[in-house]
């Protein structure tokens, strides 16, 4: 440590006068601090801890005691079992899915949910996308602090109850559809809230009163989902089916993955790890899909960092957001990994990494990396229209550059889309599903029978 400007023998340590130098040899100092410097990409950083429990044990117990009802993933949902961080099983439903949309995706990156629904159509899977849902409200909560554990829990239970009863509108039984959460923050928040609900009788009591007022109890009890499932987990389990539909070779594409903090750092014990994906050292989702599609997945040293979204910062302190996004993520994947595309699986990350590149020019930081969600990339190489389905025109980053590398004539496709806009103006609108299904009650609802 530099002693420049100090009195002889004086060292500034921040520990006060009682501090004494341990005088360790260099190798002993390394031994003493190695636990701090463990490689962060090893699972051990997440598993060297005590007091880890599977909250689903508490959930089954509460159901046994008659206090809650569990919305089960049944055989009809054609689940596929995966392993999570501690080797626990998690059931991922693959069909009869209720889309819990993301406000940021729908508002800002609409090709994200459109690509997901398109993939499901290609696989002829059943789903429902309806208007009776709110956002999880957690973006605002994490950004502003407006909200509390009760409001977050009540919103969670309301939306998941609606998923449970939604099929009634089509004359189908309760529990027919299982919720599939699109947003990473909703996913992390709902899992965290589910844990608090299962542990706190007081919280259950207070939200039960609210859910009762809303008519959102099942047999007078709170409804808790057996699993909280993120769409990236669905993509993970169906990745080989997606690969079977692939039309465009992407084996020459160098991709980098940005794992979303709220997907695997919040309630980390529930994140999927697969020994066949990066030796089980990283969260498996998205990487597994890209590998199944044959793309190269390139490692980079700041993979563990967040994107810089910050929730509040993306709105009102973007100096932080763009600095972090450019310096810690985009520049690294461009200069170090020479990435052709950066793939994400969450709303805020895609927005942040996609939108905060152009401004780099102001400081001579010329960054230019296409950014897409995993679902969009998968749809693109499976032959989805880059504008009608993938909606790449909403991306600020140079998705055209990626399309050229994939051999897609984006200019021709863009011209097709612009011609289609004239049809849209005349009311000739293409849709991925029957629009009558989207209203399941209240104003505008008309009952239609489901087609098996």
């Amino acid at each position: 440590m530099s002693t420049e400007g100090k009195n002889p023998g004086e060292r500034f340590t921040g520990h006060g006068p009682e501090w004494q130098d341990a005088k360790l040899s260099k190798s002993d100092a390394v031994t003493a601090t190695v636990w701090v410097e463990q490689i962060v990409d090893k699972r051990s950083m997440l598993t060297n801890k005590d007091r880890v429990e599977d909250v689903r044990d508490a959930m089954w117990q509460l159901e046994k005691e008659g206090e809650i009802v569990v919305h089960r993933v049944t055989d009809e949902h054609q689940p596929i079992m995966v392993k999570t961080l501690y080797g626990w099983d998690k059931k991922i439903p693959t069909t009869r899915l209720w889309h819990h949309k993301s406000c940021g995706q729908c508002g800002n990156i609409p090709g994200y949910p459109a690509s997901l629904l398109w993939l499901m159509n290609q696989m002829e899977l059943e789903y429902l996308d309806e208007t009776d849902q709110t956002s999880c409200t957690a973006w605002n909560y994490h950004g502003s602090g407006i909200g509390n554990i009760e409001s977050l829990a009540a919103v969670f239970l309301r939306n998941f109850h609606q998923a449970y009863v939604s099929a009634k509108a089509q004359g189908l039984p309760d529990g027919y559809y299982y919720p599939l959460v699109h947003c990473g923050t909703s996913f992390g928040n709902y899992k965290e809230v589910r844990g608090y609900l299962l542990h706190s009788a007081k919280l259950r009591e207070s939200v039960k009163k609210i859910l009762g007022k809303l008519g959102r109890l099942v047999d007078g009890k709170l409804l808790i989902p057996e699993e909280v499932v993120h769409y990236s987990e669905w993509l993970h389990v169906v990745r080989n089916r997606v690969a079977e539909m692939q039309q465009i070779d992407c084996s020459h594409i160098r991709s980098t993955i940005h794992p979303a903090c709220h997907v695997y750092k919040m309630v980390p014990e529930d994140a999927i790890y697969d020994d066949s994906v990066l030796e089980g050292n990283r969260v498996a989702v998205s990487t597994s899909l890209m590998q199944a599609l044959g793309a190269q997945v390139i490692d980079y040293r700041t993979w563990y960092d967040c994107c810089g979204f910050g929730f509040r910062h993306i709105i009102s302190e973007r100096e932080f957001t763009r600095s972090f996004a450019i310096d810690r993520k985009i520049r690294v994947v461009q200069d170090e990994a020479r990435s052709d595309v950066m793939i994400g699986h969450d709303t805020g990350c895609i927005t942040t990494l996609d939108k905060n590149q152009w401004i780099g020019k102001a400081e001579g930081k010329n960054v230019d990396v296409p950014v897409l969600a995993d679902a969009q990339f998968a749809a693109l190489v499976c032959g989805a229209h880059p504008y009608k389905i993938v909606q790449s025109h909403w991306h600020a980053s140079s998705t055209e550059k990626l399309m050229e590398k994939l051999g897609i004539d984006w200019q021709a496709k863009k011209a097709e889309f612009e011609a289609y806009l004239k049809d849209v103006a005349e009311g000739k609108i293409e849709s991925l599903y029957d629009p009558r299904k989207m209203i399941t009650s209240g104003p505008g609802y008309k009952r239609i029978e489901a087609t098996p």
Binding site: S135, R312, W358, G442
Partner: protein
């Protein structure tokens, strides 16, 4: 020579000045509110000052903010320090929870920051009012519709630093939205079409959980605007329900 007032002097008081310190009862009330949250004991389990949380914290790169410091202030029950941190530091946290994933004690500094933010709002702290002023449009959307972001919020004027490519296809927003093949997204003022009944259910949640009151403490005008919207929507639903009854009769 006159010195500029520091934040410590302004908010806590200077031991060598005559300015009154923040009342001890007030400091205790704030701390008790933080501690009373059922999440507190889950988020705080102990701390050896190892600093792993700060080493990996994105905000610590750019702000005078350290998750280790937040945990230490709460762990040692440093009431003055907690109050001081609530003036500015807690708003630097990016809420990524990297700190929580890495802490050997399974502390969640990011989670603790959320409890402190909630309490800052509850007590109507000026810091919360200042920091959240630019957030009012998001809050208006959220509370009144259940959506937090809408297509009409993303504009070149609103986000000039995002560059010229808000959309790479030049067409009216309404047309571009209708060209999304997902019918629930044919909207411009909300991210998706929200059922009227859904919004009204959400209002009950805001009222019953005290969220609406919290909003009132930091922005009374916004609170009033939202109450008017809520009244209108409730009337609208009532009218529809009455019409249904008439039709059934």
């Amino acid at each position: 020579m006159e010195h500029a007032e520091t934040r410590v002097q302004k908010y806590i008081g200077d031991p060598v000045s005559d300015a009154p310190p923040v009342d001890r009862d007030k400091l205790e009330e704030i701390f008790n509110d933080i501690q009373a949250d059922l999440r507190y004991d889950h988020e705080l389990n102990g701390c050896l000052n190892c600093g792993i949380c700060t080493a990996t914290c994105p905000s610590a790169h750019y702000y005078d903010y350290s998750p280790r410091e937040i945990v230490q202030l709460l762990w040692t029950e440093n009431l003055e320090g907690i109050y001081d941190a609530m003036q500015e530091k807690i708003w630097a946290c990016a809420q990524c929870y990297t700190c929580a994933a890495r802490c050997p004690f399974r502390n969640s500094p990011g989670g603790l920051v959320m409890l402190m933010r909630e309490v800052a709002i509850k007590h109507g702290m000026q810091s919360a009012k200042d920091v959240l002023r630019p957030f009012s449009r998001v809050m208006l959307k959220l509370i009144s519709t259940g959506n937090q972001l809408s297509p009409d919020m993303i504009s070149k004027d609103g986000f000039p630093d995002w560059g010229p490519n808000i959309s790479k296809v030049d067409a009216p927003l309404e047309i571009l939205r209708k060209a999304i093949p997902v019918p629930t997204l044919h909207t411009t003022k909300t991210a998706w079409e929200v059922n009227l009944k859904t919004s009204v259910e959400l209002y009950t949640i805001w009222e019953e959980t005290g969220v609406l009151d919290s909003l009132g403490t930091i922005d009374a005008n916004l609170h009033d605007v939202i109450e008017d919207i809520m009244d209108e929507k409730r009337d609208e639903l009532e009218e529809w329900l009455d019409e249904q009854e008439d039709e059934d009769d």
